[in-house]
């Protein structure tokens, strides 16, 4: 057993943290959110130059073949500053789908420019009901005699669809009742794609993507026809764990900011942090944080080691979702009036926690997976 990161990983963490705190203070986060593109090209370029966009990709495509745990640590640091960027959707979701399921040709086409930061990819996962329907997608692909596919359907809350060079999605091939869904990629500016911004509580760039008779060449199928769900599943597992990493970064920051505030804010002639009610709120947060870090890191190390861990992943997402959200609620209570203002930064985490809880399944969903895993 070893519950600490090794020296290399600690160094990596420090370099992530130094860069992100310098480049991405909260003012910058707010700027980026207002910006049309929704990310900072400058930060993105620098991250590409530092090699962070290629952390877990094969060397032949420009990656550095680092461990999954390295990427987890990066997301933890991102969660602390809430950097809005296409990292999650482009590098993790799209990048891993391509790396794990694409042919050499597809990988050569997509991965090097993605890792260089020149191309941005996204994955359209959620249907009209907000469900990830990879097993039985509501998007329909119709094969035409020339061999191409005509796509119809709707995806919601697609991150960075506005700037994506390619959008990946699962579609059901019409008339094929045997095979499962297939994983496609479509050019972000293809004819028939209607991309509309969606206003959400976190103000990150999310779009509704409506496909109306969009023509996609058969060569754009990633992986095996009819096996899109099996391609998607392992990538989602990794994405969930990295989302937990991001939440843990946010959670750490919430605890730090709240404790800091409790030491500084005075009422009745003393710091509010000396009131026991406030101390016990903070202690509860610390208890939950300690446990959440352990259960999240457990899942991350298992994935890093290539060990199957459906139960551990579900446990991590369920627990992290609940306790991070709870901490942000309590944190708002401790900050009181000032915390409720738009201007004060703690509210960014309140929103982040809520969004993260709901993405990739909330705790009730994941507990039902845990129940399956323990034979109930």
């Amino acid at each position: 057993m070893d519950f600490a990161l090794n020296n290399e990983q600690e160094m990596l963490r420090r370099s992530f943290a130094e860069f992100l705190t310098k480049e991405c203070p909260f003012d910058q986060v707010r700027e980026i959110k207002k910006d049309e593109a929704g990310y900072s090209k400058d930060i993105w370029k620098k991250m590409a130059r530092l090699g962070w966009l290629g952390l877990i990709f094969e060397e032949q495509y420009g990656g550095s073949e680092g461990s999954f745990l390295d990427l987890f640590v990066l997301f933890e640091e991102i969660g602390k500053v809430l950097l809005p960027s296409p990292l999650f959707t482009s590098i993790v979701l799209a990048g891993l789908l391509i790396q794990e399921s694409g042919t050499d040709e597809i990988k050569n086409k997509y991965l090097p420019p993605m890792i260089d930061g020149k191309k941005i990819l996204t994955v359209a996962l959620l249907n009209e009901k907000g469900m990830i329907d990879g097993d039985n997608p509501s998007i329909i692909a119709k094969k035409v005699p020339e061999g191409d596919f005509i796509i119809n359907g709707t995806r919601l809350l697609v991150p960075y669809a506005n700037i994506a060079d390619e959008i990946l999605f699962c579609a059901k091939i019409e008339g094929d009742n045997e095979g499962g869904p297939s994983l496609f990629s479509v050019n972000g500016r293809a004819q028939g794609l209607d991309i509309q911004p969606m206003d959400t509580i976190t103000e990150e760039k999310k779009y509704a993507v409506v496909f109306t008779n969009v023509s996609v060449p058969a060569a754009n199928i990633i992986g095996k026809i009819g096996r899109g769900d099996t391609h998607l599943h392992p990538v989602l597992q990794k994405a969930i764990v990295l989302k937990c990493g991001e939440m843990m970064g946010g959670f750490r920051q919430v605890v730090d900011m709240t404790v800091e505030y409790a030491k500084e804010r005075h009422q009745f002639g003393r710091p509010i942090g000396s009131f026991q009610a406030i101390q016990h709120y903070c202690a509860d947060m610390a208890i939950d944080l300690e446990g959440a870090l352990l259960i999240a890191y457990q899942a991350a190390t298992l994935i890093s080691d290539g060990v199957s861990c459906a139960k551990e992943v579900a446990m991590a997402k369920a627990w992290c979702s609940d306790v991070y959200k709870k901490a942000t609620q309590v944190s708002q209570q401790i900050h009181a009036g000032i915390g409720f203002t738009e201007e004060y930064n703690i509210q960014l985490f309140f929103k982040h926690a809520k969004e993260s809880e709901l993405m990739f399944g909330h705790s009730i969903f994941h507990r039902s997976k845990v129940a399956n895993e323990i034979g109930l």
Binding site: F3, Q279, C282, A283, E290, I295, A318, R367, S368
Partner: protein
């Protein structure tokens, strides 16, 4: 970072499990689930000593195996899964031994350590800390130990002394300095007391479960030799606090009712198929999954604290986190188990219709005490907030 046990740790676990299962099969003990380390048997402790499992984490120079806190936890985890009767040597091994190694005299070490580690007859310890007016505020003890020549004369009253009526020795905290200008945590000292000394009266207290495990202990001019003073005079409180991490990080805080946990899973699995549908069963699945997650979190907290101790750290806040979380988990477990089982769950042990192999009702009642002993959950939160997070007093 790595959450795996080593091969030799896995081997240790296998050995302990085999041992416990064999003892259980041979009828040496019964799975009784309720109190913290409720059962004791000198014979069982002897057998453990033969295996080298008492003092497994003690240094070799004191007869231990020189292994870590993690190894001790692995061993105890397997013991507590079946609630093996480890109570005879438990306190001595966990608390008294390490304290003597750190603060004791040569005579004390030579006299007590070999007896503890081999589970000799007459070496069971109890803790004489709490008093009627000194609970959470332990430094406020008013039992006095007044020096007279080469002896100390003890007067006063202790309370909640678990196993005081069966223990051979007590680990006593008493006031030795009456200088009012001193802060009270610098006025008390630690002693070892032979419980058979003249002047000691032990009165049973029956707890709300209906059982006799704790006691009142009265001292009336009890004379003990100064060689039983442990460590420095007036430094007792500090010495006790230095040991608290061992007490608080123990996996017994998670596993006091492990049989309820395993039995509950079995109970749910064996429910009629017709009951395993609909809203009610959905609720059961959700809550059981939640407990599975909490159990996992609690176990990770225990092991990571043990690991920190093995790294030479003093994880005061971490140990408090572990105990606060685990004891509250056990209360939720027992509460939920009774809800799933329904009205029959209030049937006490021995009745024909008792629904589980273990007395879940007793566990639920005992649960009240889990968040009190060894520092109430409120005191633990004070520690986490002030020592861990640095919030002002």
């Amino acid at each position: 970072m790595n959450f795996k046990f080593t091969e030799s740790q896995n081997e240790l676990r296998r050995q302990v499990r085999e041992f416990v299962e064999a003892e259980l099969a041979a009828g040496t003990f019964k799975v009784v689930s309720k109190a913290l380390v409720a059962q004791f048997s000198i014979e069982f402790s002897r057998k453990m000593a033969e295996q080298g499992w008492i003092g497994i984490n003690w240094p070799k120079e004191y007869g231990g195996q020189g292994l870590g806190q993690v190894e001790k936890m692995i061993m105890l985890e397997e013991m507590f899964k079946y609630q093996a009767p480890v109570g005879y040597h438990f306190m001595g091994e966990r608390q008294i031994g390490p304290a003597l190694m750190k603060f004791g005299t040569d005579w004390q070490r030579d006299h007590f350590l070999p007896k503890i580690i081999s589970a000799e007859k007459g070496i069971m310890f109890c803790l004489l800390f709490s008093e009627p007016d000194a609970g959470s505020d332990l430094a406020a003890v008013s039992t006095t130990a007044i020096k007279e020549g080469d002896d100390y004369i003890i007067n006063g009253q202790k309370v909640w002394t678990s196993e005081g009526h069966v223990a051979d020795y007590g680990w006593l905290l008493a006031k030795t300095n009456f200088d009012e200008s001193l802060p009270k945590h610098r006025t008390c000292s630690e002693f070892i007391v032979d419980m058979k000394m003249p002047g000691i009266t032990i009165r049973p207290l029956i707890n709300m479960v209906g059982e006799h495990t704790f006691n009142e202990v009265f001292f009336d001019n009890v004379r003990i030799s100064k060689k039983y003073l442990v460590g420095q005079e007036d430094a007792g409180f500090k010495q006790i606090m230095a040991q608290m991490n061992y007490e608080r990080s123990g996996i017994e805080r998670l596993l006091q009712n492990y049989p309820v946990y395993s039995e509950l899973k079995r109970f749910i699995n064996e429910m009629d198929e017709s009951e395993k549908t609909g809203e009610y069963f959905f609720w059961i699945r959700d809550k059981m999954a939640q407990l599975e997650i909490e159990f996992t979190v609690g176990r990770l907290l225990c092991y990571s604290t043990a690991w920190s101790i093995d790294q030479g750290e003093t994880p005061t806040s971490q140990a408090a986190i572990s105990k606060a979380f685990c004891t509250q988990f056990e209360q939720r477990l027992n509460d939920f188990a009774m809800a799933v089982i329904g009205p029959n769950s209030i049937i006490r042990e021995g009745a024909k219709w008792m629904p589980l192999v273990v007395d879940v009702a007793a566990c639920y009642l005992w649960g009240v005490s889990y968040t009190l002993q060894g520092g109430s959950v409120e005191i633990l939160k004070n520690i986490i907030a002030q020592r861990g997070l640095g919030l002002p007093r």
